[in-house]
Symmetry: C2
Subunit: 306 residues, 2 copies
């Protein structure tokens, strides 16, 4: 499968916004090519609704920036970027269903089950998870088999019971219960942190970082992953649904413990800034070829208003 790669702006001197737009376009083009148009019984249509044309694409951007930081292979990084977004998107489709969060608004549109029914939403989510691993295992020689295996292993562990799915299980079990900050952190390290961290690690795996660079990227991924969730908890109480593109105030509605309920709003904001500093400090060691975009991504994760 050929994906447009001509004219990509390669130099670190490219302004961040131009780089970001170029990468968002590349990810959208690749997803539009790889999420099937022709799956049986319009299943592809449901999958495309769930993943195309929406979302901030933080995870793909982390993959691509981390790959650039280690001069990683472009073809592999683009596939990893799309695969991690497919996992994220499937988790939202399932999480929005009536038996979970029962939400009706996502990425500014009706949720998948509202639009297509619960059965097709569940199936499309299942197929999106499988597609993530299809995307990582091309048989056209575009990614070395050993790298395919490494990327699939990282993604599966981030998505599975020790990572995202496990975090969601804690989330479910903790509705209406007070959580200590340590337990809240453990939940978020899994629920959102594992996939964000794996985005950085997958990007890194597309190159050959030495041990110091790997450690710097892992520490950065940890901090950014947690910062993302702290900010999400803050935005849930400070922003309107129209700004977020999803239902605001739903943590409180579901009586879920969050960084805001556990720490208070001001302390949560301080914590997000501390995590940003920790992420930037990890990059500051100078072991990476080019960490400016990763640094700017950490800033955007913390400063975002949606």
């Amino acid at each position: 499968m050929s994906v447009q790669r001509e004219g990509r702006l390669m130099t670190a001197a490219v302004p961040f916004d131009a780089w970001m737009q170029q990468e968002l376009d590349a990810v959208e083009t690749a997803l539009a090519e790889w999420v099937p148009l022709d799956a049986p019984a319009a299943l592809g249509e449901v999958m495309r609704y769930g993943v195309l044309d929406g979302g901030k694409r933080i995870r793909p951007l982390l993959v691509l920036a981390a790959a650039d930081a280690v001069r990683g292979e472009r073809a592999a990084a683009l596939r990893a970027a799309c695969a991690v977004e497919l996992i994220h998107a499937y988790s939202l489709v399932h999480d929005d269903m009536p038996c979970m969060d029962n939400d009706v608004l996502r990425r500014g549109k009706p949720t998948v089950h509202v639009r297509f029914g619960e059965a097709r939403a569940m199936l499309a989510g299942d197929a999106m998870q499988a597609l993530a691993f299809e995307v990582l295992t091309p048989d056209d020689g575009s990614i070395a088999p050993a790298l395919q295996a490494r990327l699939a292993g990282l993604l599966a562990r981030a998505a599975g019971s020790a990572g995202m799915a496990g975090g969601q299980a804690i989330d479910l079990a903790s509705i209406g219960k007070p959580l200590a900050e340590d337990d809240l952190r453990d939940m978020h390290r899994r629920k959102t942190g594992a996939l964000l961290r794996s985005s950085v690690l997958m990007g890194a795996a597309c190159g050959s970082p030495d041990a110091a660079a790997r450690a710097a990227l892992a520490a950065y991924g940890d901090a950014v992953g947690l910062a993302f969730q702290v900010v999400d908890d803050i935005l849930d109480v400070t922003q309107a649904s129209a700004t977020l593109g999803k239902t605001a105030g739903k943590d409180q509605h579901h009586n879920k413990p969050t960084y805001v309920t556990v720490l208070g709003l001001e302390a949560a904001r301080r914590h997000a800034r501390e995590l940003r500093e920790r992420a930037l400090a990890a990059l500051a060691s100078g072991v990476l070829a080019d960490s400016a975009r990763l640094a700017e991504l950490a800033n955007r994760v913390v400063d975002r208003d949606s």
Copy 2:
């Protein structure tokens, strides 16, 4: 992770039933080791309920028999056997949920959502799919990375929108509608056939079959995959729930087209026998090191009463 492999009966002279029991034990032991006991919020307990201690394990047996037929690597074949069973088991967990078939009995026990609730059933299914790819990508050197990538690619494509999930989408869309035999075959080739066929192909990938052996195994996998579903359709109308360990008569209850409704009971039985002959003919070309167990599996698939 160490799995007991001592004392395995290696010779083709071992009676089929002894071989089968030995392999069922090996699969159960490996699954019990690989499906986590310690996942957060008891998610591992739900996953274990969904996959341990039940089912005919046809897919793992096909993997292991196909691997033996090409003198394939044992460690890889056992992982592939468990991975394909995890995909099958997750699909049953999701398929039984109220938004799909709304079933209460599976493998002789209450279905997962009846026992643990819908949210945990959905999450456990999701985590089981991820676990299948975790199992295929060990980082302990026990499977060559290129083989990990090949197995993950085969399994992802069999599970995804062109395979199992796509077949389930057709199934959903065809409730209450008459299907021509060709359309019914297309549905079943995907819904159950793809995973059964991939079981044979994954087993084959654990060795180095030549083109003729690969073609023979693919033809065998096609025929056995379809035969399995034809027999399933027959058993749904001829057997009691207690014998099946799942709700009998549910195709009719859901007004689903089946081989029995499309062909009639006697023609469906004839068709199952024809498919068995086609499977056995594929093996009879003599290009496989040892196809006796695959042949006997085809017989068991067609002659089974549950």
